[in-house]
């Protein structure tokens, strides 16, 4: 189990890759307009199935929202 901070919330998850993390968080990895950053670095979609998520990582999962 890894302690991962996801969108500001600390969670314990048993996941290895970004893909797995997204699925665990009920985000469809095929969904459009989603972006992910780990520890302040954007992970391009092409690397979601290979990039590993480690214990202590700080993950941001974002999408566009209404804005001014």
């Amino acid at each position: 189990m890894s302690r991962i901070r996801i969108n500001g919330e600390k969670k314990s998850l048993d996941v290895s890759t970004v893909d797995e993390l997204l699925r665990a968080e009920a985000v469809d990895p095929a969904a459009r307009f989603v972006a992910v950053a780990i520890n302040g670095e954007v992970i391009p979609r092409g690397r979601w199935d290979s990039e590993r998520v480690k214990d202590g990582d700080d993950v941001e999962i974002v999408r566009p929202a209404p804005g001014g």
């Binding site: 969108n7 009920a26 307009f33 972006a35 941001e60 974002v62 566009p64 804005g67 001014g68």
Partner: protein, 263 residues
């Protein structure tokens, strides 16, 4: 015969793109998605801003992009960022999510006034230009800051008229005029527009465009206000290009002086 003005003869160019509308509009705070779509359509805007936010892990459904994509040039913003570091990460996330290198840069220094933090704004702008972003910074109506942003390579400068959502209009028209005179990149008044006359005034001062959100989304009738803003921006632009009469202390008769009866 009525002379018609083609929008193409006075198009707005930002970076490598040309637009026939000089009104830019936000996507937030509408009563519902249908009103948002109708208002944006009524505004005639071609550029629509969106924010980048954490996915609501409990929710789902369509995003604002699903509703807008294909019809508009989407301009993501870094709203909510208080540091250059956060703004940079937000811009990179926006670039990845939306496949655009255009960014409306906002770095705020104060929660109450939402006033730009110029120190962080300049640092973020410099780094974003270096990373290949098309940077459109929301900034103070300070001619020195605008000049610095232009010198850094921003694609436009976007001085506020007054604080975001305040509806106070253009508080310092003299500064806006100076900013316009000193910069050859587009000057777009962004923030504080309250009603149509504010938008027209910005254009009459010579600005290249107006970016507004609350003035339309929070109006009693957003679609009608969007229509008003469309006409206001067009009218103000024509007035600016037409060359106005000067202000005078004394009257100058508008009817001929000769041939008046009783003289």
């Amino acid at each position: 015969m009525q002379r018609m003005y083609s929008p193409l003869e006075d198009a707005l160019t930002i970076a490598d793109k040309t637009f026939t509308s000089r009104l830019l509009i936000g996507s937030a705070q509408y009563p519902n998605n249908q009103v948002m779509l109708d208002a944006i359509a009524a505004s005639g805007a071609q550029i629509v801003t969106v924010a980048i936010r954490r996915v609501d892990l409990a929710g789902g459904g369509e995003t604002v992009l699903d509703l807008l994509e294909g019809d508009y040039h989407i301009l993501p913003n870094t709203a909510g960022c208080y540091t250059a570091k956060d703004a940079l990460l937000t811009a990179e996330l926006a670039r990845e999510a939306l496949k655009t290198n255009w960014i409306k840069l906002e770095v705020i220094g104060d929660r109450e006034t939402l006033y730009p933090d110029v120190e962080h704004l300049l640092a973020a702008a410099a780094e974003m230009v270096r990373r290949g972003f098309i940077v459109m910074p929301y900034c103070t109506d300070d001619p020195i800051t605008c000049r610095k942003l232009a010198d850094l390579g921003c694609a436009a400068v976007m001085p506020l008229g007054s604080p975001i959502g305040s509806g106070m209009g253009i508080l310092n028209p003299y500064n806006i005029e100076i900013i316009r005179a000193e910069n050859s990149i587009p000057v777009i008044v962004d923030a504080g527009i309250g009603t149509a006359s504010d938008a027209a005034f910005a254009m009459e001062l010579g600005c290249d465009g107006v970016l507004l959100a609350s003035a339309v989304s929070r109006a009693h009738d957003p679609v009608r206000m969007a229509t008003a803003m469309r006409h206001a921006v067009e009218g103000g632009r024509h007035a600016f290009r037409a060359g106005r009469i000067p202000r005078k202390r004394h009257a100058e008769a508008s009817s001929p002086q000769k041939g008046v009866i009783g003289t």
